[in-house]
């Protein structure tokens, strides 16, 4: 990956189509998405359920593939690729935050945060050190040795955000990150996102809440698999 500077197109989708096969029916989910996100932007994607916003995020996150069109991640075409390659790209360049946190239940907060570095074959000592650093930045240091079920929703999401950040990704993708949180905690999480964004990391947030979306620089509104508005 070349050096990332501001105003670089970090994500670029051209006419992306995605159809799911359900039984014998082809259900079009994305019908020609063209979207460009510049490095350092904080974008929210809105839309009702079934509008295709999660599918779009999965495609951007290399968690799913697309049928037609072009997707460039930091200028490199992400076409058909094997899963190992996709896994390595995710590990190096992308961070994920999910609505239901997706922390591994039998691992402590610290171990959850350190996991992406384990896949980079970084030594236990180094990765735990770095994980502790990130937990500290999110105010979670004292919870490092707790299991996820001992944490509140907001705390879990902070751990998940630390995990998304630990591998120094260029983009963090958040799928309804505040969906399972109360409004106070949601605002806190969004504050954290703003801070992260201020450090130059690109953020794409999926949400169906207007006030959450309002806290981002740009709102993309999706309906029936096409972009309705982009403001």
């Amino acid at each position: 990956m070349p050096h990332i500077s501001k105003n670089n197109k970090i994500l670029s989708l051209k006419n992306v189509y995605k159809t799911y096969l359900q039984g014998k029916n082809h259900i079009p989910v994305l019908r020609g998405i063209t979207l460009t996100v510049r490095a350092g932007e904080m974008v929210s994607i809105m839309g009702s359920s079934g509008s295709g916003k999660s599918t779009l995020l999965n495609i951007i996150g290399l968690l799913d593939d697309y049928d037609q069109g072009e997707y460039l991640l930091n200028g490199t075409l992400m076409g058909k690729m094997n899963e190992s390659k996709a896994a390595r790209l995710r590990n190096r360049h992308l961070g994920f935050v999910f609505q239901s946190f997706h922390l591994i239940g039998f691992k402590t907060a610290l171990e959850n945060v350190a996991l992406p570095l384990f896949f980079q074959k970084i030594s236990r000592k180094k990765r735990n050190q770095k994980a502790m650093e990130y937990l500290d930045r999110l105010g979670m240091a004292q919870w490092a040795n707790h299991l996820p079920n001992e944490l509140s929703g907001g705390q879990k999401q902070r751990v998940a955000i630390a995990r998304a950040m630990i591998a120094d990704p260029s983009v963090i993708l958040a799928d309804e990150p505040t969906g399972a949180l109360d409004s106070t905690t949601s605002l806190e999480v969004m504050k954290v996102f703003k801070e992260i964004n201020a450090q130059g990391i690109t953020l794409v947030v999926i949400t169906h809440e207007r006030d959450i979306a309002a806290m981002t620089d740009r709102i993309v509104f999706l309906q029936d698999g096409v972009i309705q508005t982009d403001e």
Binding site: D64, A87, H102, I104, F119, A167
Partner: protein
Amino acid sequence: MNIRYLFDQFQEIFYTLEKNKLRSILTGLTVSWGIFMLILLLGSGYGLENGVHSAFEEDAVNSLWINPGRTSFQYKGLKQGRYIRFNQLDVTGLSRNIEEKEFISGRFYLGSNTTVRWKEKTGKFQVMGAQPEYARIENIKIIKGRSLNDLDEKQIRKVAILGIEVQKELFLHQYAIGQYIHIKGVPFQVVGIYDDPGDKWTLDRIFIPMSAVQTVFHRTDRVHNIAMTIHAKDKEKAVGVEQDVRELIAKQHHFSLKDKRALFTHNTLINYTKFMNLFANIRIFIWIIGIGSIVAGIVSISNIMVITVKERTREIGIRKALGETPGSVIRMILIESILITLGFGYFGLVGGVGLLEIMGNMITGIAYFKDPQINMGVAFGSLMVLVISGALAGIFPARHAAHIRPADALRDE
């Protein structure tokens, strides 16, 4: 992949196993149980086999027992129903003419309830006249004094050897050698005490020289029956020798070879081979059960692996989203499965071998069961089969799980 990373991976796997104790233990116990049962079965089968082997130690396995009967039809002008009677000449005749002869002895029963007296004490025992070689045919062990010998026989000495039960009953643990016992009023000197580890039923016998019985008590050279051991490696040979013996005696005593009732012969080698065949069958049976229990183990492991992997779909999805490759996922699941089956299998193996050992020490003196054991090669071989099948059973669900798209694996229910 360097050593440190490998170590790190193992650490990660052990951590996962430890954090999911119940799952690990349940999977493992299936394997332990399979191996444990297999070893117990195979070991017990071996114990059964050993037991029968040792039961046959009571008599030489290649012995031939010859008993006279009554003719069942006329032959060469001799009437039906004639009793065949042996004498010492039959013994020497067989001894000379049967090339395969090893040891031979006539037997003369003085009676199974003969009154025997030592000082004021009397008892009723089985007294039998036999030649010196008889000790070799019955496989008796002299534990004190000496056995009967050729000189006793030649000089018609009035000597006796006693089974240890006789010694216990008549002498009440006092030193018997050199003492005189009275058999039907005639004094005989005790020269030896014998034991017979293979046959506890014949320890209340008293043996005296054949010549002494014939001279002192009956004044004939009559012999009740004849026992011999033969050099015969297989059943065919043993049957051949048996046939030669029949021919020889039929000629001597003028009865038809076709007359089955004139002479009864009992060949222990044939019996022995019968038992060996039975064993081969028991062994096959045990193997079938053993393989059955292994298969049951394999099926359970496969089941558990499928369920385990299914249960971990979400975890695998998370790991993949964070950058774990499908290959690494499969490797992780396989190593986990191998570690569990190997560890718990070894545990079952040790348990099974241990129990066999305890059984071997505790169960003594039971007929047809002795020294249960297991061939270690077989034991470790079955463990390997279980480990490999556990791994194979894990591969398919692991591959499946590793290739589910993270988007699907992470979808909220």
